[in-house]
Symmetry: C2
Subunit: 281 residues, 2 copies
Amino acid sequence: MQVTGGVAVDRWLINGRAGDSVPVDDRGLAYGDGLFETIAVRDGSCRFLDLHLDRLESGCKRLGIPLPSRTLLQAELRELIGAEVHGTVKIIVTRGTGPRGYQPPEDCAPLRALGLASSRPAKLAPARLRYCDTPLGRNPSLAGLKTLNRLEQVLARAEWDDPEVSEGLMLNDRQEVICGTRNNVFYTLADTLCTPRRDDGGVHGIMRAQVLRLAQEQGIPTSQRPTTRADLAAADDIFLTNALTGAWPVAELAGRSYGRSRVTEAVRAGLVKLGVGECAE
Amino acid sequence: MQVTGGVAVDRWLINGRAGDSVPVDDRGLAYGDGLFETIAVRDGSCRFLDLHLDRLESGCKRLGIPLPSRTLLQAELRELIGAEVHGTVKIIVTRGTGPRGYQPPEDCAPLRALGLASSRPAKLAPARLRYCDTPLGRNPSLAGLKTLNRLEQVLARAEWDDPEVSEGLMLNDRQEVICGTRNNVFYTLADTLCTPRRDDGGVHGIMRAQVLRLAQEQGIPTSQRPTTRADLAAADDIFLTNALTGAWPVAELAGRSYGRSRVTEAVRAGLVKLGVGECAE
């Protein structure tokens, strides 16, 4: 049960009203001055909603964007989802409209756009990965945030159109692997569950945090560390995480095949208990 | 005669029609998947229009966005400007709407939004600069492009609200000065006109290119080079360039005062002859 990418959004609530457009002078369009969340809807509810709203709140604070009320967002999400059972919700929050110029307006009225795609979960085969040539810039001021500045990911994803390739891994200029274009990456080395650190790039993934927490609860050693191609070549196994797919096993990267380690199986079983049905066999 | 920042856009042509909104699922909003140009309107015409359209064209090619027809853009700009004498035109080009997911759609219909602000040119005092704390990430895949990914500039510009500070300079993680939040920077060292290189950050400025060309024509040595705070502290003078202000002399940076060198005066005189009246005394 996993949701495939590339689904069109069926309906939007924009500042609380059904709609399909935003002002052309919104700073989200002009500068990418905002954030977004992508949330799995399972059995009619937003999975890990509190964690997504926590991240949105913390991102708004870092960018200095006044936070939309959590109660309001929750009510609008309920209205948006209605009787839908499975799907994907996207929340976009921007600093709103403003005059030309980078300076944030003193009194800004943030824009919130909530979109729902009523996609059905689908079964995904183990992932086949490639390395992308597009480097991921190191931006300590934006690291960890899910901002609307995503051109590097777009260029990286445009590098291949082979449908057999599931995802591409992105490296920074130090040749550290940071993440996939839309997934975080984990790997097992010497019975330790490892994942690239989040110092100056990548996103603080919701599923990534769940995986780290689960591993720690189960007594599995974890390490957030600089990660090289050699680390991944030496790993017992690799999996990808994102909010829609849980922990997605990797079958192949750079000519090597991977199985699944005991560590990964334990983490996946833990995720199933948390409602991530995509990890059930 | 210089245009101040922060002016509201008065009217827009969106895909050729008067309007004030764009689709909420436009990839410009979702990912910053697009480019923009800011152009000075002087005496009813877009200054250096061919150079702006050249840059837009080259940026679209690098991002793989189908190029809007130059003839169409020129006609729409004439319609937008109408009888306006002075002002600022903004052109936004995005990859258009698409389903969720970074992968560029195979058949994309780019969006073009042309906005006009009928601001009157205003006299600007010599600039007082600061250094920004927000680092500029190094992104070789985007360097030189005027993309819609501008959050770093927004965060840098949000660092001060003292109206006496005209602009902030941004450095990368190597402590190289790259640019201001909305200007390129030039300085004179040992009778050489220097400016930070454009290898992995900053924008290929239209006015920057004019200044380099003019200097070369006048036999002034130029150097595009890694630039440190020490270089600027040792410089004879500093000026800023952008499409709206020409070459803007700097009065102060980091506690030091600056005058104007012979080199800068020669460049400014050359710009006046090219129609950059803002550089006339």
